[in-house]
């Protein structure tokens, strides 16, 4: 008897390869590259996602600053992450890569600015 295979779509890159994961033996097939293999295993053990959103920004030409988690965080923390970022109010000037929240929810992952925004002239 063949083991139950879980079908997944790899979301690491836009190729979107169709993966089959043997959940028991932790074997992935259907991937084109190594990253897809890692994704397949992680998705059935502890799924994670990168969060991209905005925080409030004062003193710049636009009132919002785009940010992202600089690594993937456990998927079930998505809304907790949003709740924290909704409280943040940053001020221009800000540089791409500036840390906005350090060690988000004890994950070791930081939330960083994804663009540079100068002071409003």
């Amino acid at each position: 008897m063949t083991a139950e295979l879980k079908k997944l779509t790899c979301i690491v890159c836009p190729m979107g390869c169709e993966l089959q994961v043997d959940e028991k033996k932790k074997i992935v097939t259907g991937h084109t590259c190594k990253r897809g293999e890692i994704y397949g295993i992680e998705e059935v053990t502890h799924p994670t996602r990168v969060i991209t959103t905005t925080v409030k920004l004062a003193k710049s030409i636009y009132p919002m600053l785009p940010v992202k988690t600089n690594g993937a965080i456990p998927k079930d923390l998505n809304f907790k992450c949003m709740a924290i970022l909704n409280q943040v109010e940053w001020r221009a000037p800000v540089k791409l890569g500036d840390i906005i929240v350090k060690d988000l929810l004890g994950t070791g992952i930081d939330v960083v600015a994804t663009r540079t925004m100068g002071l409003k002239k």
Binding site: V12, C13, R49, T53, T54, P63, T114, R115, T116
Partner: protein
């Protein structure tokens, strides 16, 4: 005012084209952008997934844009922001901004990179009231991500292209309830990864072969009626479902922005609604080049950048008087292929040529065949071909040497 090269549009296409021309020895370059900043539509695309091919890392839209903005800051390339190009006649550009007023700019070559715009409610037919709360998905994206204005609480999205999917997740993360994504076609027009991480992650239902048949609401949207459609895309009676919602996002397609191109008398392709170009990205007028979404709607910005680099390079060779003309052959689309870019090719091309295309329906285990005068000159095996995913093939020098006349590109069963 005179320049060697004027680039119209400061999105990823315009930026990469200008930078490539600069690297090919052109110093007098002007980029004209109507917005307050460079970067184009990427500034509002705050999600990640950009640049995997170009930079080998996954960037957000603003990060991808900033890489190119940084590159051109260290060059002699000039930029005029908040400046609208109004008209182009021959090689004269007519533009306007609040500081310089009306300008006439002469240029040896021009690169068009105006991007695309969204189809609005007018472009599709949805009967019913006209209440507030109906937005195009791109407009909502700009309101939320740049202007910090949340457009609604209970949302239905019409269209499952990438922008619709991305907005479903974005609105959900911002606390809205996205009740459904409605798609007319029997398949989604978005990338598979976006269906997984934008819909499945948040349990948002996707209704394929459905459409919005009525919009109800006095001042603000209150309800919409959705129906299943038959094979001819006609709503089926008795399948109506009602959703209460205050917001409807329309993600029903993008159209290349070609008002200027038409005014300039350039040839437009009715299949793409974009400009007709050859393999150097030159349009039907010598010295006018084009790249990016103004040619055809791209789903990956990396391909926009590649196309732009080709346009920049050949615009530079045109300015330096090194541009070589050969005999032009047509690239035609055959079975299963809806269009190709470029539409024309010079047979003297010394370099390999990348040809972009889209397929008309989802197809599996096929070959993309290139045929010239009844002879197969190249074929490329493809496991999965989806209309949502632009395809590309590369014709090498050897392939090109076999071309003697017009070529046709079509699909054939592969095993």
């Amino acid at each position: 005012m005179t320049y060697d090269l004027v680039v119209v549009g400061g999105g990823p296409a315009g930026l990469a084209a200008a930078y490539e021309a600069f690297n090919n020895g052109i110093e007098s370059i002007l980029i004209i952008e109507r917005d307050m900043e460079l970067g184009g539509i990427l500034n509002q695309c705050i999600h990640n997934g950009f640049g995997l091919h170009t930079f080998k890392e996954e960037l957000t839209g603003p990060e991808y844009a900033e890489r190119f903005i940084d590159k051109i800051t260290d060059t002699s390339i000039e930029v005029k922001l908040d400046t609208m190009v109004l008209d182009i006649k021959e090689k004269t550009i007519y533009a306007m901004n609040p500081i310089d007023g009306y300008m006439e700019i002469e240029s040896k070559a021009i690169i068009l990179a105006m991007g695309c715009r969204e189809r609005t409610r007018g472009a599709i037919y949805v009967p019913g009231d006209r209440p507030a709360g109906v937005f195009t998905a791109g407009a909502a994206q700009r309101y939320i991500n740049i202007e910090g204005y949340m457009v609604g609480k209970e949302v239905v999205i019409l269209g499952s292209g990438d922008i619709g999917l991305i907005m479903a997740r974005r609105m959900t993360l911002e606390g809205a309830k996205v009740k459904a994504v409605i798609e007319l076609m029997p398949y989604s027009n978005g990338l598979n990864r976006n269906i997984v991480q934008c819909l499945e992650d948040y349990d948002i239902p996707l209704y394929l072969s459905h459409t919005v048949t009525q919009i109800i609401g006095k001042t603000r949207l209150e309800k919409i009626v959705v129906s299943q459609v038959d094979d001819n895309k006609k709503p089926i009676k008795g399948t109506e479902k009602t959703f209460t919602c205050d917001t409807l996002l329309l993600s029903v397609g993008l159209i290349p922005e070609n008002e200027l191109s038409k005014q300039a008398g350039l040839q437009i392709d009715t299949r793409t609604n974009g400009l007709v170009v050859n393999e150097t990205m030159q349009t039907s007028n010598e010295g006018i080049f084009a790249c990016g979404n103004v040619l055809h709607v791209h789903d990956l910005v990396d391909f926009v950048t590649q196309e732009a680099q080709t346009a920049g390079k050949y615009a530079a060779s045109y300015i330096k008087d090194e541009y070589k003309k050969g005999t032009s052959v047509k690239v035609k689309n055959g079975k299963g292929i809806t269009y190709t870019v470029p539409q024309n090719m010079n047979t003297i091309s010394k370099e390999s040529i990348r040809v972009f295309m889209r397929v008309s329906t989802p197809s599996y285990h096929q070959k993309i065949v290139v045929n010239c005068g009844g002879k197969e000159i190249a074929s490329f095996k493809k496991k999965t071909l989806l209309p949502a995913e632009m395809q590309s093939i590369v014709l090498t020098k050897e392939h090109l040497a076999a071309i003697e006349g017009d070529i046709t590109i079509y699909l054939e069963e592969g095993k």
